[in-house]
Amino acid sequence: MPSFASVEILQQALVFLIGATALGFVLTPILTAILYKYKILRNAEYDPAMQGEKSAKAGTPIMGGLLVIIVVTAITIVFNWDRRYTYVPIGAMAFSALLGAADDLLNVFGGRRRLRNIKHALILIRVHKKWYMKIWHIITLPWTAFREATTMFGSKQNRGIQVHEKLFLQFVAGAVTAWWVYAKLGASWQTLWIPFDGSVYVGWLIIPIIIFFVMFTANAVNIADGLDGLVGGSLIITFMALGILSWIEGRTAFAPFNMTVVGALIAYTYFNIKPARFQMGDVGSLGLGTLLAINTIAINKTLLLPLLGFIFYVEIFSVILQVLFRRLLGRRLFKMAPLHHHFEMIGWSEEKIVMRFWIIQAFVVIVAVWIALR
């Protein structure tokens, strides 16, 4: 239920939005020049999604999401730094963005990685000449098994940060957030808001719930980032809704914070619309996915995340279902996953997919806001 809504908070939040947009537009040419200078460009060679007219995207700078991360971090640190409320979301976002940046850079500049499978590790344990290497392989065996298990859920990569490494680091980001919510924000955050039904006290169980949502949402946004403008436009809608909810609930730190993200995303999306001047990259999608989860958790609307991030959740579920169908039934549910590739395969233009996804996202987010205000 709305608790307090002052015009001053809204005015302040809108100033943050306008300021972030302006700063975003100012920084874009600088960022683009840097990305071109250091040749941080999309490489068609390693990108299975590049086909037909999409191959024209080869050579487009990636890591454009850095714009949003820099603008949000800078404005928040300078004008909205609140040790209780904003430093952990910024920290977790920066940590995830760093992970994404490392992945982006390794994908561009890194060589192929030699990864041993579990069979190979078992052989090494048996036959290696050096005893300490045998012990090392025994110690790292569960890690190798974990890596092998994660390859079942996606295509095998041999460049960049591997899925199991990403999951581990995202777990760390989720755990830090969970610790912050559980230990720092107070007992009221140990209750889980239930739509239409008040809230329920969950105590320490809030920790795994938060870790799950942070990891899941970060990956969902990451997976959805496949078409020009899709993630940027959808996130504008989502963070706008978070900003409005924060304002209605009188959360003086989060209303400006969310509006800052909206402002930065406006500048980013302006340049990301087809034909994109730059693309988000993992630096943006992982960072903003983490931030989306944390900011929703922070205003205690955790269970609304599947609606607030509807398109992202649909995209990640399309991948999960595709893998399940493939492994269990031996056939495809979609022509290709994530879902936007399916629509591309059946002949929809990129613009048509993106705009329809925006419309759907906007509608579902409106429903989410309505539920939140009930």
């Binding site: 068609a44 299975p48 999604a49 590049m50 086909q51 037909g52 007219e53 191959s55 079942m152 493939r326 492994r327 269990l328 039934l329 031996g330 056939r331 495809r332 022509k335 290709m336 395969m345 059946i346 002949g347």
Partner: protein, 259 residues
């Protein structure tokens, strides 16, 4: 004769439904060498014609190989059936013998008896719990020649009793490798058994193999299969590699599924 739908499936294997290109005969692919696990049916030699074509489209799109126009509605203009076959073989797309027989018989029994025969076969016993569950979820992928030739799933029939829909099973056709083969009887008319199967002859080379038709002329009704005249691709007797394989098989039988 097999049912019209089964005949349609066979025709589709001989002429895969690629949009804009006719006469693409489905190549042979056996997963035993590649050993893919938990893969799509079409990628382990067990797919239906539609699944195989769909997978070809997806592979072409995913790896930007330029086989289809951008929306995959039609193949590129100057492509021939041979180009497409080469593309499929290079990307491990095709059908193997038991997969082919299973797909055709599934259509046949659905139409004639309104049942999915793959669910009636005993593939793995419940005691092998994991494999049993997998075989329920993915029956076609788990139906091998051994399964079709199992006494619990099929029974031996004599040459004079053979009907369309029966199968000719060849077990252990090579001394060193566990290699089996199966042919599907398509039609019997005037003492001639028409069969279809998926296989690769040594003379086919890298790109010549695939779904093939042949016949067995019953010259000596009282004798066994090997005493009859086998003809395939215009070759008879020892030049016919299917016949040679039948000769080498430790067990050669005509069987009828217990449906």
């Amino acid at each position: 004769m097999l049912s019209p739908n089964a005949e349609k499936i066979i025709d589709q294997y001989f002429n895969l439904p690629f949009p804009g290109v006719d006469g693409v005969r489905c190549p042979y692919f056996n997963n035993s060498r590649k050993r893919s696990r938990g893969q799509l049916r079409a990628l382990v030699g067990k797919g239906s014609p539609k699944e195989i074509v769909e997978e070809a489209k997806i592979i072409s799109t995913q790896y930007h190989l330029g086989i289809f126009e951008n929306d995959c509605s039609v193949c590129k203009q100057n492509l021939t059936a041979d180009d497409l076959r080469k593309f499929m073989i290079d990307h491990d797309l095709g059908i193997e013998c038991s997969g082919f027989v299973s797909q055709v018989l599934r259509a046949h029994f659905r139409e004639t008896k309104n049942i999915d025969f793959t669910t009636k076969l005993r593939i793995y016993p419940p005691a092998k719990f994991f494999r049993y569950i997998i075989s329920i979820l993915r029956p076609i992928e788990n139906i091998s020649v051994r399964v079709l030739a199992d006494d619990r799933n099929s029974s031996v029939v004599g040459l004079k009793d053979v009907v369309a829909g029966d199968i000719i099973t060849m077990l252990e056709t090579q001394p060193t490798k566990q290699r089996n083969h199966v042919l599907l009887i398509r039609n019997i008319e005037d003492n001639i058994i028409d069969y279809v199967h998926a296989r690769a002859w040594s003379g086919d080379g890298k790109y010549g193999h695939g779904v093939t038709a042949g016949n067995i002329e019953i010259i000596y009704p009282k004798d066994g299969l090997l005493e009859q005249k086998w003809t395939e691709n215009g070759q008879s007797d020892n030049k016919n590699e299917t016949y040679l394989e039948a000769k080498r098989a430790k067990v050669l039988q005509i069987r009828r599924l217990k449906i």
